[in-house]
């Protein structure tokens, strides 16, 4: 059984759980064929692996299609407001170290209206697991371009094509001092669960970008990464300690200028992926290999997984230290302060 150091303070389940335990009685209302179904099923069947009490698990979401997720998880949950889930979850995680707190968000929720909260949660390294469902479109508002849509995207709000350059969410996360950054795909349950496992093990904030197909407004956005005919050449599967290979006959090498590039196997030596590298620069360079429009050469897997003190643990430690140094607070003494006078009857 996998060990989850990040869940050290979370009470253990009494017995084995199953995916069924994590399903609610609520009818799932995503569009038929939505990638969210696959993610939900993968998460529900993964959760028992954590071996923690269901009641000590909380899913917090913002607004958007993905943010309906908590309603379908038989844990504690909050469907909050647009973009604010990381902030709300921070308050919860920082005050309750006995909980496993998950944030479910989307590309609009996390990167547009909630961009500020996302980057600050990452730099603080609060014990949160953030699942960012990226479908490169606004689904719930019926099809406007999102901050991850490719330039020139024709949508209802951009009939002549969108003008703004997209975010690469993983580049952004690395720039925001994230300690855990990973990417996976809705349709690959085995890979998705392996990434969730690594995220759950990580102490601090984990950002997991999940490429998720919106079959109504942006169908096939990730087809190149899924089609048997193209995926092997388009995907770069990262494994810690393994050489970074591309398809059957290419690999990633470091050029003389220090940049990463894709070369035939006959040229140079493949870099070996080190998710635990102290510096983020190689991970960042890996995120830049993908073509922003076509997603060709998209790395998936755990790009970065490093140790840094966790915000909630540090906060708890300050409280403990204050009590050790000053003693448990005495309200009467506090109110009186150092300068009082008495009026006699």
């Amino acid at each position: 059984m996998t060990d989850f150091p990040a869940l050290r303070l979370v009470p253990k389940a009494d017995g084995p759980q199953s995916a069924k335990d994590f399903k609610t009685d609520q009818e799932v209302r995503w569009c038929p064929g939505c990638g969210d179904y696959a993610i939900l099923a993968a998460v529900q069947s993964f959760m028992p692996e954590l071996g923690i009490r269901r009641e000590n698990t909380v899913f917090v979401s913002g607004i958007g299609c993905s943010s309906r997720f908590p309603y379908y998880m038989n844990t504690y949950g909050m469907h909050s407001i647009h973009g604010r889930a990381p902030a709300i979850a921070t308050g919860l995680a920082a005050s309750r170290p006995d909980l496993s707190v998950w944030v479910v968000t989307g590309d609009g929720d996390a990167l547009s209206i909630g961009g500020n909260h996302l980057i600050h949660a990452l730099r603080r390294n609060v014990n949160l697991k953030i699942l960012l469902f990226n479908n490169r479109i606004y689904g719930l508002t019926k099809g406007q371009y999102s901050p991850t849509s490719e330039v020139g995207k024709i949508t209802k709000s951009t009939p002549m094509g969108s003008l703004d350059a997209p975010f690469n969410p993983l580049s952004l996360a690395l720039g925001a001092e994230a300690t855990f950054v990973a990417r996976t795909i809705d349709s690959d349950r085995q890979h998705l669960q392996s990434v969730l496992r690594a995220a759950a093990r990580h102490e601090g904030t984990a950002l997991v970008e999940i490429y998720q197909n919106c079959n109504i407004f942006n169908d096939g956005a990730f087809e190149i990464l899924k089609e048997p005919g193209t995926r092997d050449e388009a995907l770069i599967r990262l494994e810690h300690g393994q050489p970074v290979l591309v398809g059957a006959d290419r690999h990633v090498v470091r050029g003389a200028d220090g940049e990463l590039r894709i070369a035939p196997r006959s040229e140079g030596t493949a870099i070996v992926h080190d998710a635990h590298a102290a510096g983020p620069s190689t991970a960042f360079a890996l995120t830049r290999l993908a073509d922003a429009d076509t997603l060709h050469h998209t790395p998936i897997g755990v790009l970065r997984d490093v140790d840094r003190p966790v915000y909630d643990a540090l906060m708890a430690e300050q409280l403990t230290r204050a009590e050790q140094q000053q003693g448990r607070g005495d309200l009467a003494a506090l109110l009186a302060g150092s300068s009082t006078w008495t009026v006699d009857a």
Partner: protein
């Protein structure tokens, strides 16, 4: 009788002799006459870098220790270091102290300490004829005079003849006193505020031990600076005693306050302590999510110092995250609090709406300042009432509590927590810049007698077949159960989408929405708040003056003046703005005229008119400053006069 518990029995002067003793019968020194006063208003004014707030604070602490009743009004620019010597850069601190119960920092200073020409010019219009002015003549240079538009020195052109002027070379005297201190001139000069404080402390027989102790603690790491400040302070005292310019000193005997132990306290400190106390009395950990903003930041600073009470403070990335984190903590069973001022409330509005929908306890503290937009960050106003009342999308009622005095901020915080915890609702606590920074004596409460705020979390399923229904309400309070994560069997999901009554599941059903909107409103409408008390000693008043928040002091002082003149006026003050006290409608009906003074353009009056169809008359001021008692007394006299005139017509 008063005694200082933190001080030696004798009230020592800087020279080790009691000022009273030395002034009355001190051997070896000619005694100066002492004049007895019942109250004094002093204003210290200088550049924002002159340390006037510190000087005022110290004089206040000395005065509190002496046992006078007091009330203070700090007034400072928003700029940290405004351009030196300019009118906008003037910072002042006004203190009113008395041998009796007083209510305001006073309308007009009896004494002005002006550290430079700008301070004199900015404050002169507030001085009544006969007031004493102590000026630092060293700063009245040609250049400094020209900077504020004085063609000739007002000290010499006779323009101050109506006042009792004391020209004192404060800078030179301070430098002289510190010539052996080893300090550079620039550093030595900075102690001139302590020289001024020493002089005023002599004039008014203030105990000085506390100030010396304070200076030594404040500069514990710089003993040379500490000693220099103490030396300047003592030099100021001795200067008053020896120089002939100050022929008289004044005595304001201690006030006869109700028996008990007192301390001096500002509104923001009282509010902070109220939040700590609410945590202790509820048994819940306090979680403050906040973003720095004037004039609320002091509460974040203060609470961050009390981690040994289990208080968590979180300085968020913005106002929205501040309240978001507090709400998240509340979901987890903490006493969630967010502190801000008007612009921050605007940003938090959406999350407040979410808290209304989630029905979780949350205390939202708004230290109101001048608006709109950035407005007047360091000045007071009470123009956020309607924002607190209505500033959200949809029908989103939020209870509102408003303290009337600095010390009352303590009980208001406990009361806001009580309502939040009992009714599972966000609650607004509306303080303002005047209450926040002003201070007054506070009779310490007995900790055991503070309200019991303990709550019961849900522990068992409450629905059929062992189901948990998160929106099944208490029939009396209409509060829903508070089931915190970690409780087995009560797993549930809540959100901002409309919920089905009882189950809390998403519901778009029209009848259910209508029911839920009305139920949330009914929950707030039915909150139990104390009746409003009416003060009408004659029982025959026909005019009622009704206020809320920090206008309590000046309104009450005005009412006393009117009554002293034989006028009959009733007074009531609201501490609860939503819901209003149950008896308010009946109270309003009893009076022919209702006057509502507010530091806004009539927000409470608007609510009263809408709720009770009463012809409430507004009296408004939005100058960033509190009302003056005389000003309100004129308004009340006029109201009484107009009633009489109507009768004789």
């Amino acid at each position: 009788m008063t005694s200082q518990v933190d001080q030696s029995e004798a009230v020592d002067g800087p020279d080790g002799e009691g000022p009273a003793a030395s002034a009355r019968s001190g051997p070896g020194r000619p005694a100066k006459p002492i004049r007895r006063l019942d109250r004094v208003i002093i204003r210290f004014a200088g550049d924002s870098g002159d340390g006037m707030q510190l000087t005022g604070d110290r004089f206040t602490s000395e005065t509190a220790a002496f046992g006078n009743d007091l009330s203070t009004l700090p007034n400072f620019p928003a700029e940290i270091r405004a351009p030196a010597g300019t009118l906008p850069g003037v910072s002042s601190f006004q203190l009113h102290f008395a041998d009796h119960d007083i209510l305001t920092p006073g309308d007009a200073p009896d004494v002005l300490v002006a550290m430079n020409p700008a301070a004199l010019k900015a404050n002169l219009p507030d001085l009544p004829a006969g007031a004493e002015i102590i000026v630092n003549t060293d700063e009245f240079t040609k250049r400094a005079l020209a900077k504020v538009g004085y063609a000739a020195s007002p000290l010499e052109d006779g323009s101050l003849e109506a006042f009792r002027l004391h020209p004192v070379p404060l800078t030179a005297l301070t430098l002289e006193a510190l010539k052996d201190s080893g300090l550079a001139r620039k550093d030595a000069e900075r102690a001139k505020n302590m020289f001024a404080l020493g002089l005023l402390s002599w004039m008014y027989h203030r105990p000085t031990h506390g100030t010396e102790l304070f200076l030594r603690q404040k500069f514990a790491k710089k003993p040379q600076i500490a000693e220099a400040n103490v030396t300047a302070f003592r030099a100021g005292w001795n200067f008053g005693e020896t120089t002939e310019d100050f022929a008289v000193s004044y005595e304001v005997p201690p006030a006869k306050l109700a028996p008990g132990t007192y301390r001096n306290i500002s509104g923001n400190l009282a509010l902070s302590y109220g939040l700590v106390a609410a945590g202790e009395r509820s048994g819940l950990p306090v979680f403050l999510g906040s973003y720095p903003i004037t004039p609320a930041s002091d509460i974040l600073h203060e609470l961050s110092r009390h981690k040994n009470f289990g208080v968590r403070t979180f300085q968020a990335e913005d106002e929205i995250a501040g309240i978001g984190a507090a709400l998240g903590a509340a979901f987890g069973g903490a006493l969630g609090v967010t502190t801000t001022s008007g612009p921050g409330v605007a940003l938090k509005s959406e999350t407040i709406g979410l808290a209304v929908s989630l029905e979780l306890p949350l205390v939202i503290v708004d230290i109101q300042r001048g608006g709109p937009s950035t407005g007047l960050p360091t000045k007071t106003e009470q123009a956020d009432l309607l924002q607190a009342m209505f500033g959200r999308n949809g029908e989103a009622p939020v209870p509102i509590v408003a303290p009337a005095t600095p010390a009352e901020c303590f009980t208001a915080a406990l009361d806001a927590a009580r309502i939040a915890l009992t009714y599972r609702t966000p609650v607004f606590l509306l303080s303002d810049g005047y209450l926040a920074n002003g201070s007054e004596p506070w009779k310490l409460p007995e900790v055991d007698e503070l309200p019991d705020l303990r709550v019961e979390f849900a522990t068992e399923p409450n629905g059929p077949d062992g189901a948990f229904r998160p929106y099944q309400r208490d029939p009396h309070t209409l509060a829903r159960p508070w089931a915190v994560p970690g409780t087995p069997g009560l797993e549930h999901r809540i959100g901002g989408i409309e919920k089905q009554d009882g189950t809390g599941n998403i519901s778009y059903d029209p009848a259910n929405h209508d029911f839920m909107v009305r139920t949330r409103q009914a929950k707030v409408d039915n909150i139990v708040v104390p009746d409003v008390e009416v003060d009408d000693p004659s029982g025959e008043a026909r005019v009622l003056v009704l206020g809320w928040g920090s206008t309590y002091g000046p309104i009450t002082a005005a009412v006393r003046r009117v009554r002293a003149d034989g006028g009959r006026v009733a007074q009531a003050h609201l501490r609860h703005l939503n819901p209003f006290p149950a008896n308010l409608g009946a109270v309003l009906e009893r009076y022919e005229k209702v006057i509502v003074p507010e530091m806004n353009l009539g927000q409470l009056a608007l609510l009263l008119r809408a709720e009770y169809l009463v012809d409430a008359q507004s009296y408004n001021q939005v100058r960033g400053l509190p009302f003056k008692a005389a000003q309100l007394a004129d308004v009340l006299h006029a109201a009484l006069g107009s009633l009489d005139a109507e009768e004789t017509r």
